[in-house]
Symmetry: C2
Subunit: 115 residues, 2 copies
């Protein structure tokens, strides 16, 4: 079946940051338990300072990649990053969200080794 | 700058349903205030019954399209739907998530009228 073209993207880039929180004694841990909520606030503040209006940064429930957490995914390209610090997010913001590049050292999936 | 190819998509389709809740007296309303949490549970249950494992259904914070709420967005195509009932979601599940088509009557953005 051939489809008519989809409408233009509403956001140039749409970022989803896992802010799922499990109880502290859960052995799987969780992204929020590893600080993702405060890290998300940092990224949103940095975006606002830049005036980057065509990118939306959202919180999301469990993205099911807990072993790599905290994680985020950027669509439409579907690139996943694992981050730990505000400096990691600053690098993703500048290299990927602003300049359209990638931050290979933080990517969850290795482009050289398709899954 | 030319980029190396991105890794394959981790999920064939990734659905984000707004479950943002504002206070009941907020004039903007909210997707959760219009029932999106229970509707999301319906969609997840229906997905599970179908055994549709390459699609991920997530909750998300405010997607900033409140006037159309409840809303969901499906990536990587970035198609937005406005839904009100479990029947709406069943139709999106069958037509879009399973069969790869679209449900034009529920789409937020009209493909015939690019924004």
């Amino acid at each position: 079946m051939s489809l008519p073209p989809d409408p233009p993207l509403h956001f140039r880039l749409h970022v989803f940051i896992c802010t799922n929180r499990r109880p502290d004694d859960n052995p799987r841990g969780s992204c929020a338990g590893r600080g993702s909520e405060a890290l998300r606030e940092h990224l949103k503040d940095a975006q606002k300072r830049l005036g980057l209006k065509d990118v939306r940064i959202n919180s999301a429930g469990c993205l099911d990649r807990c072993g790599h957490g905290p994680v985020l995914v950027i669509y439409p390209e579907g690139v996943w990053y694992s981050f730990a610090t505000t400096a990691d997010l600053d690098e993703i913001l500048d290299a990927h969200l602003v300049k359209g590049g990638r931050v290979p050292r933080l990517m969850v999936d290795d482009p050289a080794k398709p899954q």
